[in-house]
Structure formats: structure tokens, C-alpha cells
């Protein structure tokens, strides 16, 4: 801690920070552009000038850039100094010289950091009377729009894109007053984190194209605190809605999970919510795939309960992409003995093993932010950027943080970004990745292109080197032994080694190997960590809840032990081969499907109930850390579309259960369901604490979903009726569908629908909601951990796979894929444009055996034609296929690929 004197007042600040960050953390406003809490200082824009004095007796002082000056003890500065103010006003005037007067048509307007700073410095008259330089813009792909005329040359874009996220195709071109930020040639921005440019850019150079199609100002959007549903990371998001559709996804700051950044799947993958083919009403079908007939709600509920009552046995199939509450209500409806998690058996076994390892290996699971402090990482059988997007960015920071350690030794503070970058060129903390093909982290990692069994064997070997009590791997070849030794040396030399693995390979032995390494590290008393990546938004939650596997449910139906099935938000055809699902569904007389998407499963339903997506409902998810997080309804679909009968699945299932008991379907609220779920499942007890209940108030007020400037509410429904109905009432949460309510920052709180503070309209307004800028939300970061490390040690696993022997079969190696590998976001248009063309990766030997070359095409049965991609070091005997390409394909399944013969297959 340090004492600094600002304009005659004394303040206690964190002395490790720079003056700008320290002053912003105190709530003092200093304008800035190039500085960013996650990216540190470069002193490029000259906007944050303050006067600094040497000591009490110094009455002259000198102007310094506050972002480049340490907040050392007894520092004396003046923000209000007249010359400093004049300097800042001149800087903004000069940055604005070429900036167009296009705020009314600029999509940044209303959440623009440049607008905020220009107003803050008082620059309100343009004196420049000459031609402005103009630019040609680039087409940068489906996510990002480019408007270079607006650029103020702060360099934040390239600092984020290249230095922070490891991109290589964006650059700063030219010199002096002629600098251009763009790609070296027009084309799609390649980084999977490019979407963050829309928030990192202080003005409207990089804007969200998906928002552009359906543009609404920030102040006219309705928001709620939500949680991304597109992978197991659990990033906090703030979706904005207008006229009954989601218009954009903005990052919602979380000090431990996502910080300021999201991946592009999460930011641009929301389009499935807005699809025009979504089911809006209950439907009934006599035969599978028939055109359905719509039903009234009461009729549908009566007919479904009636048929279910007459059935012999009802199986409930849950879903790892649905909330805990919805899954719990399904389990209540069908009974614990008839409930399946909806997860394929091998994946479920892996999930259970991951829960167990997280508890019993003795290593703690760090939060994503804590990952950045680990100084050696081994990734065993995962491609984190593809399987958990944002997590890859955390791991990159861990590798890069070596330069901070180097800087610390010679007195360069962690915020001095450019100095550290120069100091630590090409020097990284060790990052070892055992994964068969290229990853986004390869530039800062050492990668070992191994087959799944070999990855496991390598892992077991590493564990044995760390702790000789761990089982020895037989017949280990010398090369692998050397690799294992290098990895073990790096992990043992580190203060905080980290082991990362997960379910992507659906391999028990890979996970067991990761568990052995974690245990070995724990036994050697390392302050290490273990991170296990799950596949879907609520995979961890479903595993904690427990239930039968999807395979079991299919067998019960196929073998006639049940004649009815209720499927919750789950497309079974994504998980098991079509034939197997067809067989099972064909034996079920009644097939009730609740979903918000028209999936292949829904097309075979006898009854369909229109479920809420994350945007229209509330619920709880558990992320890969084991953190339970609540997501809140953004908008009420029935308000603008009175014909829609969309409800949370838990509400539908509660009504069905009441109907089965011949009770009136009394309404139920979220808190009751959450409490019932927590009570029924000991592992989930903590979930109630994940967020405040419906009765939570601040200053006696509900929390507003809409900014106070929200306009046009009385008119937006006038096409339906000129009399404005009462706004929807929210009985489930403390949030109001209104601008009325609390939306301030002076009371610490965790659940922030949107960040706005007087004078701060841009995402930088999050600075006002944190305990210190870049720290934690002032009310604590949302969510609660449900999985805790237990004392003691588990026994080492002895399940070491044998060394691979040459076989003639080719097996599927399904590769997680950020764009296309997730069922729901793959239905969003901009994501579809970013999906890889169908490819199959083969090694040269296998390609030769199939008589194909790089660029030829292969098919699997009636699959689309897949272009052969020959990779020199790809493991023999495996065919690499991106997830989502062939639904229902099992990891490791034997394949018979055939050459396409003449014409289109």
C-alpha cells in the first residue's frame, strides 16, 4: 500500500499500480485511450497527463503521463492543474482532427469511449478547418466491420490482437500522421478473439457486424446478467435485446472468469435465439417428421399429461446444455430411476472422473484468472482454444507472464507493457501441449503430435518421473521418455505448475494420466493446479446431479421397457448414431420434446413444448471450475409477440408434474425450483447462493434491466395496440423489465445487467463497478464453487494403455472446433460463415493406403465430401475430423472412408 496526494487530498492506493489505474480505482476521472486494465501502459496517446511534484516544497512540478508513472508512496500530483487540463484538451482536439463528425450514424455512438473522453475534457468546438484524411476500409469477415476514418491511432487494437491474443494478421501500417490499422490484405480476421476489438477499440473503427444488421443504441437495449451457454467456461455476458430479439452480446466483467474478454463463439454465436423457425407454440404430430399442428397451452398440457398417465413407464432425457433447474424438474417429473442426463456413456464416465479428480488429487482448480499466474503448464489431450475458447487466452497470458517475472527482477513494473514486451521477446513460461494437430497456442508452446493412447502414456510417464511411487510405463520408447523428462523437469522447476486436461478425447486413460501427474505434484508439495475442460455449458452440473446415461435411456426404449420419453433441450442425434436413436424413438409411443431449436429430435416428437433459450429464461449452470452461476432472463418473449408461448423448461415440466398429480398447475418461481434442486442433490446445495433471490432489493428498488435513457417503450408495441400494456412482471428475479429500478454503482453488487455510470457510456464503465480497476466486482465476483478439494490422497491409477500396435483400422479422432463444434451456436449465421470446410486429417501412410493425396476428397457413408489434409506428423491410424461435421460420430470409432467417385457424392 502507498499514500499518494492528489490535489491536496491523501489517498491510500495499491503502490504496484500506475497513477492512472490508482486514480481511476479511487473514482477520480482522468481521461485516457491507450491504457487498458488488462493490457497495461504504453504512454502512446498522451491523454492522461497530470502534473507531478517532486515533494511538498515543489510548487512547479512537471507534466507526466499518469499511466507511465508509478503510484509510489508519497507521490504528489494534480489532476485539476490548469496546464494539465489545457494539455489534455489539446490532446483530444488533436486526436479529433481527422475524426469524422459521424456520431449520429456511427455504431459506436452511445457506448463510445472517445465520446466520453471528449466530453470529459470539455472539447466541444472544432477549430480545424482543413481537409480530413480519409481511408479505404477493409472487409474483415462476418464478425467485424471496419471504418478506419474514425481511428485515433491509440494502438489498442494491435496490442490486444497481436500482443495479448497472439494474432498475426492485423497490423499497424505506415508512419507519422499516416497510420492504418487493418489486415495486410483484405480478408477475414483469423484470431478467434477478434470480437474483443469491438470493445477494445475506444471508438468505432471495429464494430460488431452481427449488431449492425439489427442496430440499436446501447441506451435502447434491455440487458440482463447472463452466462454464455456455448462451452463449459461460463463467461459472463450481457446480451442486449430490442423488439424481442437479441441484438448483441457484450462482455460482462467477471474478475475471476472472463475479465474483459470473450471468444468469438460466445460473442457472435447467439443467432440461434433469433431464428425465425423457432417453435413458438406447443405442437402435436401424429407421425414423426409430419407437419405439426399447433395446440393451446392448456390443451397441450392436458393431452400430454393424459397420455403420460396412460403410459407404462416414462423415461426423462435431460441435457448438459439446459439449466440445473430444468433438469431437476424433469427428474421430478419422471422419477430419479427414470432420469437420464442425456450424456453418452463414455462422456459421462469421463465427467464423473473429472469431478472426482478435482476433489481427490490434492491439487486446487484455479480460476481462469489464476491460471495466468501459473509458471509452467502441461496440456494433456486438449486444444483449449477450440474446446473452451476464452480459457486459451488465459493460458497464453500464463506463458507470456514470464516477462513479468523477468521485469520484477530488474524493477520494471508489471503494467509497463512495452518495456516488458521488449524484455521478454520469444521468452515464455513452459507450455507443453500433447495434441495431434496445430493449436492457436503453438507459437508460445511446445507441442507433441501424439495419438490419444500415446498422450496418456506420456502423461503416466511424467507422473512416474515426478513421483517414483506412481506406476511405471512399460515399453516406453526413448523419445517419449526424453519428452516426459523435459516436461517433468519444467513442472518440478515451477512454483505453480498447472495440469490441463479434459473430455475432448473422451479418454479415461488420458484423464487418469492427468490425475496421476496432479497427484504426483501434490505429493511433492507443489502449489500446483488442475484444470479439466468439459464440453458443454452445464456438463459439470449434470455430472454433479447424476443420472443414467443416454445409452441406458436408448436401451430402455429400444428393448420396450419404457413406452414414453420426455426429452429436454437435447438433440440426441448429435450424441449417438442416427440409427440407434431412430430405433429407440420408434419404440416410444409418446415423445415429448422441449426445446428452443428445431432439431432432428424435435422433428420426431409427438408433442413439442417451446422452451426458453438463455435469453428468455432463468437458471443455473456449473462451469468447468465447478462454479455455479445464475443466468437471468433478458426479455419476455410474449410482450412483443403475444402469440408466443415460450417458457423455461422447468416451468413447463412443473406444470406437467402438477397435471400428472391431477393438481392445478399453480405457478412456481425460480427460487422455489432452485431451492428444491439444491435440496434434492447434496452436491448442488451451494447453488442457491449463486445469486440473490427474487426478493433482493437495493435502496428498496428492483434492479433495472434497461438504462434510464431507454426510449420508445410506449411506441414499440403500437403496431399491435395503441394502448400500452403493463410491462411484464418478473416474479423470478430481482430484475425489472424496465428502466425503473437501481442501476448504479455506489452500492456494491454482483449482478450487473449493464455497466453505465455518469460520463462513462463505454464498456470502460466497468471501472466504476470494481473494487479496483481490473480487480473484482465491488460486490464480489458472481457464482459459487460447488467442487472443493478434499484432504488426503487418492491411489494412483494403474490403467496405463499399452503401446499402440500397427493396425489396419482407421479410427475417428474428433477434434473440438470453436466454430461449428457447438450445437446451438452452429445454428447462428455468422458462425456458419466461419466454420471450416469439411476436412479429414490423415498422415501420409494412411493417405497412401486410401490412395488419396492432399486436396482429394473422401466420404464416410453418405457424409459430405471431406477434403484430405495430409499432416506430416499426424498419428498413424487416426482420421482427424472437426466436431460437428459428422453428428453422432463417436470418438475412436472405426471408420471406413471411401474415395469420392465422379460428380458430387
Amino acid at each position: 500500500m502507498a499514500i499518494i496526494h492528489v490535489d491536496g487530498q491523501d489517498y491510500e492506493v495499491n503502490g504496484a499500480q500506475n497513477l492512472l489505474q490508482a486514480c481511476l480505482s479511487l473514482g477520480l476521472d482522468i481521461p485516457y485511450f491507450c491504457w487498458h486494465p488488462a493490457m497495461g501502459s504504453v504512454g502512446a496517446c498522451r491523454q492522461c497527463a497530470v502534473r507531478q511534484y517532486k515533494d511538498e516544497d515543489d510548487d512547479k512540478g512537471s507534466l507526466v503521463m499518469s499511466c507511465m508513472a508509478p503510484a509510489a508512496d508519497q507521490t504528489r500530483i494534480s489532476i485539476e492543474d490548469e496546464e494539465a487540463k489545457a494539455f489534455r484538451a489539446s490532446v483530444v482536439e488533436w486526436l479529433m482532427i481527422n475524426h469524422p463528425h459521424d456520431c449520429p450514424v456511427c455504431e459506436e455512438g452511445g457506448h463510445c469511449h472517445l465520446q466520453d473522453m471528449t466530453v470529459m475534457t470539455g472539447h466541444d468546438r472544432r477549430r480545424y478547418r482543413f481537409r480530413k484524411r480519409t481511408r479505404r476500409n477493409q472487409e474483415l469477415g462476418p464478425f467485424i466491420a471496419h471504418e478506419m476514418n474514425r481511428c485515433i491511432t491509440c494502438y489498442r487494437c494491435v496490442r490486444f490482437y497481436n500482443d495479448y491474443a497472439g494474432g498475426t494478421d492485423l497490423g499497424a501500417f505506415g508512419a507519422k500522421d499516416n497510420v492504418y490499422f487493418g489486415r495486410y490484405a483484405e480478408g477475414t480476421l483469423e484470431s478467434p478473439f477478434a470480437g474483443n476489438l469491438t470493445e477494445v477499440c475506444p471508438t468505432g473503427v471495429f464494430t460488431d457486424k452481427s449488431h449492425s444488421e439489427q442496430y440499436t443504441r446501447k441506451w435502447d437495449l434491455q440487458f440482463a446478467p447472463s452466462v454464455c451457454h456455448q462451452c463449459s467456461m461460463g463467461c459472463n455476458i450481457s446480451p442486449g435485446e430490442r423488439y424481442g430479439s437479441i441484438r448483441r452480446i457484450e462482455n460482462r466483467y467477471h474478475g475471476e472468469v472472463n475479465g474483459y474478454f470473450l471468444c468469438d463463439r460466445g460473442r457472435f454465436g447467439y443467432g440461434y435465439v433469433n431464428r425465425s423457425d423457432r417453435p413458438l407454440l406447443p405442437e402435436w404430430r401424429q407421425q414423426p417428421d409430419e407437419e405439426p399442428t399447433t395446440l393451446e397451452v392448456d390443451t397441450a398440457l392436458a393431452r400430454i399429461t393424459d397420455t403420460l398417465r396412460h403410459s407404462q413407464r416414462v423415461i426423462g432425457i435431460g441435457s448438459p446444455r439446459a439449466s440445473l433447474e430444468s433438469n431437476h424438474q424433469l427428474r421430478e417429473l419422471v422419477g430419479a430411476d427414470n432420469f437420464s442426463t442425456g450424456i453418452e456413456a463414455r462422456e459421462q464416465a469421463c465427467l464423473a472422473l473429472m469431478d472426482d479428480l478435482q476433489r481427490t488429487t490434492g491439487l486446487h482448480t484455479p480460476t481462469p484468472r489464476q491460471i495466468e499466474n501459473h509458471d509452467a503448464i502441461l496440456v494433456l489431450g486438449e486444444d483449449p482454444v477450440q474446446s473452451a475458447g476464452r480459457l486459451g487466452l488465459n493460458m497464453r497470458q500464463a506463458a507470456l507472464s514470464r516477462r513479468e517475472a523477468m521485469g520484477e527482477k530488474i524493477g520494471i513494473p508489471a503494467w509497463n507493457a512495452e518495456a516488458l514486451k521488449t524484455l521478454g521477446q520469444d521468452v515464455y513460461h513452459p507450455l507443453h501441449i500433447a495434441w495431434p494437430t496445430a493449436t492457436e497456442l503453438d507459437d508460445v508452446a511446445t507441442r507433441y503430435p501424439l495419438a490419444p493412447e500415446e498422450i496418456a502414456r506420456l502423461g503416466f510417464a511424467v507422473a512416474h518421473i515426478i513421483d517414483p511411487a506412481a506406476p511405471v510405463v512399460d515399453n516406453l520408447d526413448p523419445a517419449t521418455r526424453d519428452t516426459a523428462q523435459r516436461i517433468a523437469d519444467d513442472l518440478m522447476a515451477a512454483e505453480r505448475p498447472l495440469v490441463v486436461s479434459g473430455g475432448s478425447l473422451v479418454s479415461d486413460s488420458v484423464l487418469q494420466a492427468a490425475g496421476n501427474i496432479a497427484q504426483a505434484l501434490a505429493r511433492r508439495a507443489r502449489q500446483g493446479g488442475l484444470v479439466l475442460i468439459r464440453r458443454e455449458a452445464n456438463s459439470t452440473g449434470l455430472s454433479l446431479m447424476g443420472g443414467q446415461t443416454l445409452d441406458w435411456a436408448m436401451d430402455e426404449l429400444t428393448e420396450g421397457r419404457a413406452d414414453a420419453v420426455v426429452v429436454l433441450e437435447n438433440d440426441l442425434y448429435q450424441r449417438l448414431p442416427a440409427q440407434r436413436v431412430d430405433q429407440a424413438l420408434a419404440r416410444a409411443d409418446i415423445r415429448v420434446v422441449l426445446d428452443h431449436q428445431r432439431t432432428a429430435t424435435l422433428a420426431r416428437a409427438s408433442f413439442t413444448l417451446p422452451a426458453a433459450s438463455f435469453a428468455e429464461g432463468d437458471g443455473t449452470l456449473v462451469n468447468l471450475e465447478g462454479r455455479a452461476q445464475r443466468f437471468f432472463q433478458v426479455y419476455e418473449p410474449g410482450y412483443l409477440r403475444p402469440e408466443a408461448r415460450i417458457h423455461e423448461s422447468w416451468r413447463w415440466l412443473h406444470a406437467l408434474a402438477a397435471g400428472l398429480r391431477r393438481e392445478d398447475a399453480t405457478d412456481v418461481n425460480l427460487d422455489e425450483i432452485t431451492a428444491a434442486c439444491a435440496e434434492a442433490h447434496p452436491a448442488l446445495t451451494g447453488m442457491v447462493e449463486a445469486a440473490p433471490g427474487a426478493g433482493y432489493r437495493i435502496e428498496g428498488l428492483r434492479l433495472a434491466r434497461e438504462p434510464h435513457r431507454y426510449s420508445g417503450r410506449t411506441a414499440m408495441r403500437a403496431n399491435l395496440s395503441v394502448s400500452e400494456p403493463r410491462p411484464p412482471q418478473d416474479e423470478d428475479t430481482p430484475f425489472a423489465f424496465s428502466m425503473e429500478g437501481y442501476s448504479g454503482f455506489d452500492h456494491p453488487r454482483q449482478q450487473v445487467a449493464f455497466a453505465w455510470a455518469p460520463g462513462w457510456n463505454s464498456p470502460q464503465a466497468w471501472n466504476k463497478f470494481t473494487d479496483e480497476v481490473g480487480g473484482h466486482l465491488s460486490g464480489g465476483d458472481p457464482g459459487i464453487r460447488l467442487i472443493h478439494r478434499q484432504p488426503g490422497h487418492r491411489d494412483y491409477s494403474l490403467r496405463i494403455p499399452a503401446a499402440a500396435t500397427a493396425e489396419n483400422t482407421l479410427r475417428a479422432l474428433v477434434l473440438p472446433s470453436l466454430f461449428g463444434g457447438d450445437e446451438t451456436s452452429a445454428r447462428a449465421e455468422p458462425i456458419q460463415q466461419r466454420m471450416a470446410t469439411p476436412v479429414v486429417i490423415l498422415c501420409h501412410i494412411d493417405a497412401e493406403a486410401l490412395d488419396v493425396h492432399h486436396g482429394d476428397t473422401l466420404v464416410l457413408g453418405d457424409s459430405p465430401a471431406m477434403t484430405v489434409h495430409e499432416q506430416d506428423d499426424w498419428p498413424t491410424g487416426w482420421a482427424g475430423l472437426p466436431a460437428g461435421l459428422l453428428p453422432g460420430l463417436a470418438q475412436g470409432e472405426a471408420l471406413t472412408l471411401s474415395k469420392t467417385t465422379g460428380g458430387e457424392p
Binding site: T168, D169, G171, G174, A175, A185, E186, Q425, T437, V839
Partner: protein, 170 residues
């Protein structure tokens, strides 16, 4: 899974191909530096030496050889005014406009060059013989006003010297 680096679909190829000898020369330069990006200027000069300028498609080609992103190469290639991004004539005339030359007759010299060549800054004579460009300093203040043709520095130069000087560059 990682996708192959996408190339522009909207701008046509300019047909540039990296000469094998140049690739070898760039790889040789790489050995002199700790970081591959440090060899970027040398690589650009190697390409410029052969082609007279650096075509757009040379950028990804150099990036590939150096093993760095094309954005970084383009950044260097657009920063330095002596890396030419448009075709230039057989000979490049650089006329110095720094303070010493400015004080000692730069204006007259430049005007005489424009008259002699019939092109202004950035222009190339119709016979493709000369390209005229300004340069911020030649380090030849003792001989101001100075100019440079290809690798030869001249100064002080008067307008009357020009015909004879230019004669030497057919």
C-alpha cells in the same frame, strides 16, 4: 482445429513469386538475429533488390520464410519510405529536403529536377528511367544541397549540374 491461413479473396494476385535465391538469402539473414522479425528489413531489401520494389504478394511470402505474421511484415514494409511499394523507374533520384539542404538551395534544385524529368515527387518518367522522391536526410550536410541517385550521393549540386549528372544513368 486450426484453419489454414486465409488469403485475400477480394484482391487479385499480383503474380509475385519469391525467387529461390532470395529465399536462401533471407534464410541466411535469419541466422544473424535472435528474433526472426529482426530480419524483416533485410528480407524486404533482398526482394527490392531483385524486383526494384516490393509487390503486395511478397508480404505473405516473406512472412512464410521468416515464420512471422504477414501483418508484422506489412507493418515494416509500410513504415520505411525507402521500401518501395509501387514500381519505380530504373534509377531512383532522392532529393534531400532536410534543413541544411533547405537553406542552401533545395528549392531551386528540386524545381530543376522536376523541369528536367517532367515528373513531380512520386512520379516516374515515361521512359521508366527515373523516379523522383524526397528523402529526409542523406547525412551529407557538408555538401548541401545534396541528392542521391541509386547508391551514389552528390553534393553540392546546382541546377546546372543536373543534365550531366543524369546522363550517367541511362
Amino acid at each position: 482445429m486450426a484453419e489454414p491461413v486465409s488469403t485475400s479473396t477480394l484482391i487479385g494476385s499480383d503474380g509475385f513469386e519469391l525467387h529461390p535465391a532470395d529465399e536462401t538469402a533471407i534464410l541466411e539473414q535469419l541466422k544473424h538475429y535472435e528474433q526472426p522479425q529482426a530480419a524483416c528489413i533485410d528480407a524486404l531489401k533482398i526482394v527490392q533488390r531483385r524486383h526494384g520494389w516490393v509487390p503486395d504478394d511478397a508480404i505473405p511470402a516473406i512472412a512464410r520464410v521468416l515464420g512471422i505474421g504477414p501483418g508484422a511484415v506489412e507493418g515494416v514494409a509500410t513504415f520505411y519510405s525507402l521500401i518501395f511499394r509501387q514500381p519505380v523507374g530504373r534509377h531512383v533520384v532522392l532529393v534531400c529536403d532536410s534543413s541544411s539542404c533547405f537553406l542552401t538551395g533545395f528549392d531551386e534544385l528540386k524545381q530543376a529536377l522536376v523541369n528536367e524529368l517532367g515528373v513531380d515527387y512520386g512520379g516516374t518518367t515515361s521512359d521508366n528511367r527515373f523516379t523522383l522522391l524526397p528523402v529526409c536526410c542523406l547525412g551529407a550536410c557538408d555538401g548541401a544541397p545534396a541528392l542521391m541517385i541509386d547508391n551514389d550521393t552528390y553534393g553540392p549540386v546546382t541546377p546546372d549540374d543536373l543534365p550531366r549528372l543524369l546522363e550517367g544513368y541511362p
